[in-house]
Amino acid sequence: MAWRRGDKFNGPHRVVITGAGIVTSMGHGWEVNAGGFRSGRVALRPVTVFDTSRQRVHSGGEVVMDAPLPETRLTGRQLGRLDRATTLLLHAGMEAARQAAWHDTEGESIPISLGTSAGAMALGEKYFRSKSCHPAQKKALAGLVTGYLPHTQAQLLADATGISGPVSIIANACASGANAIGHAFHLVKWGRARRAFCGGYDAIAELVFAGFDSLQALSTTTPRPFDATRDGLALGEGAAMLTLERLDDALARGATILGEAAGYGASTDLHHLTQPHPQGDAALRSMTEACAEAGVQPGEIGYLNSHGTGTPLNDAAEGLAIQRWAGDAVARVRVSSTKGSIGHLLGGAGAVEAVICLMAMRGGWLPPNVPVAQPDPVCTFDLVQSPRDAQLDCTLTNSFGFGGANATLVFRRYKA
């Protein structure tokens, strides 16, 4: 966004969501995902995108790519070069753009804010293998290098949707998607843009899969966040995109308002590169900051979509953070992790879980935390273990990543 000395940051403006797109191992699109999360369906399956025979773990939230890409503005040449991660991103982006019905984007600079942890890592892996096996090879490698760069995926999204402007690719590990939405929210809130296109994506990639396995963070049984006997996470893949705009603009054009972006908090856990502070200090900070911005108390949060990876350390620290944040209201706070259903989507997780919060508010239900046999003692909050209906006015989602990147988003049902 252009800025000159003397320019005024004006705001705050109320910011609403008018389009959402999602693809996960549940399937493609809002309807199928809403149905799946509402019922607590588990959509984990054998990983087929690479050979897992030498890995300890063989399953994850792999997306079945059985839906054709919606009609885009991409050329045949561009379509022919799409990798898996970009394809997921485009599915979500096209759905969000269609729902928003922004028909007047030509010539307008609309910020694109994306979160990813690995981008098109599979292309990077292919490039490495080619270079290792055939050091003199040149043919086709430039395309792999270009395609691997995350800004190429953003450019393809812009070309596909016709929504184009300055690109921010936030790579804050597993908090990336939430950071990207929070960043876009603040751009619109403070008048630096009238609208923004934001979200997160990641595809299952061998390097990352082997990396989590090397840390013994992957479940060798069934991922079960907040269960006392949990033994790790499942990796997943997917994408979610949102269109954000000023409330007054959305009202003026008669747009359907899916919810209001109300608060965003971001903090850094200094404890360790991969382990959270045992008491959840940074998580507490990001939740507190987001709720302060939204002007809500913990007791007003109708549903909290936790980061809840299913690793022993994460869930314990997040649970304690929730206890400290909610105080006396903790027993009333309804919490679930949806990672038992679709796995951990890394850079896509924060965005997908933001959309799940919107779905829950729109549909009036709580997504169950599956499967849990014996809740961890840290769960002094109301852990949602089975499908439940609920009238929700305010939801919160947590995303925590390697490097101590912590982010929290708060959404509110739109009320005039």
Binding site: W3, G119, P135, T152, D159, I170, L207, D213, T268
Partner: protein, 336 residues
Amino acid sequence: MSVEVDVFIKGWGAVSPAGWSAGTLADVVLEKNALPVTEERRVDAAPLRRFRAVPPMSAQPAWLRHARLRRVSPATRFAVSAALEALGGMVDAGSEPTGVIFTTMNGSVTFSRRFFAEVCENPALASPILFPETVFNAPASHLGAVLGTPAANYTLIGDSAQFLRGLDVAVHWLAEGRVSQCLVVAAEELDWLSTEALHLFPGDRVAAEGAAAVWLSCGASDGIRIDQITGSILMGHRTSRAAAAAKMRAQIDTPPAAVVCDSRCGSSILDADEEHLWPASSVHSPARWLGEGFGVSAGWQTVLACELLHRGAADSAVISAIGHGQQAIGAVLAQS
């Protein structure tokens, strides 16, 4: 609420093939003496790699003893060094909430390449020590830990112009009051994987490594002021690099007698898009003398601009960053 902010650069730092300071970077660029180029092949059949590495440190600084820095990648060491130079050696960020914005293109590529080689060999033996260091935000995380700042910390991935996008985000954070000071840092490290990739593209560029950092605040009343950051003009299927460069140029309010720090690298093919933008005689192009810094390139341009203003070479400086595939973006700095 309507907020008008003045944003100042309170300090800057760099690591480059010229050495471990902003001063050595500026000296090399101003002397217009290209540093020696190392040429190597990793195996006989591989292409010749041409690069300029950061020279070894003359002595080990105290900050390298920090527990978080024991096994970090070169990019992290470069980033911390440049950041601490920008902060004037102040390791403790104190009670002021200090934001960190880190920009890069390749991240910790040496560890990523090593880790994936181990995965290909035998995933069961792939090192759990290497993997966490492969994530893009590892350098930013280590920097935050060294400084002890729990405030917001972003890693932004982008092309060689990305450092100016980092400045833009920092201005936004300061104006919002989200942080009271902010570090913008870029870093890159050399590896055959990225250097051979560079040689797949036209321009016969020399790869380089290092870091750049600026320390921003909106409370100061002296120092170097940021007067303008242009929009980031996205290149792509519908906007050529030349068109993006021209759009960026049209947005710049060029002050009289400003020095220009541009992104030309000495390649007639790549420089053509920028050559005609700045006819003024006082144009400095760090990439010509240091090499292609990937995600740190615009950072070096920014640090050079700060040095030039500090040394009294001009009252204002234009930074023109034409990336190699993503964006064109510019900025104007002034001595306050």
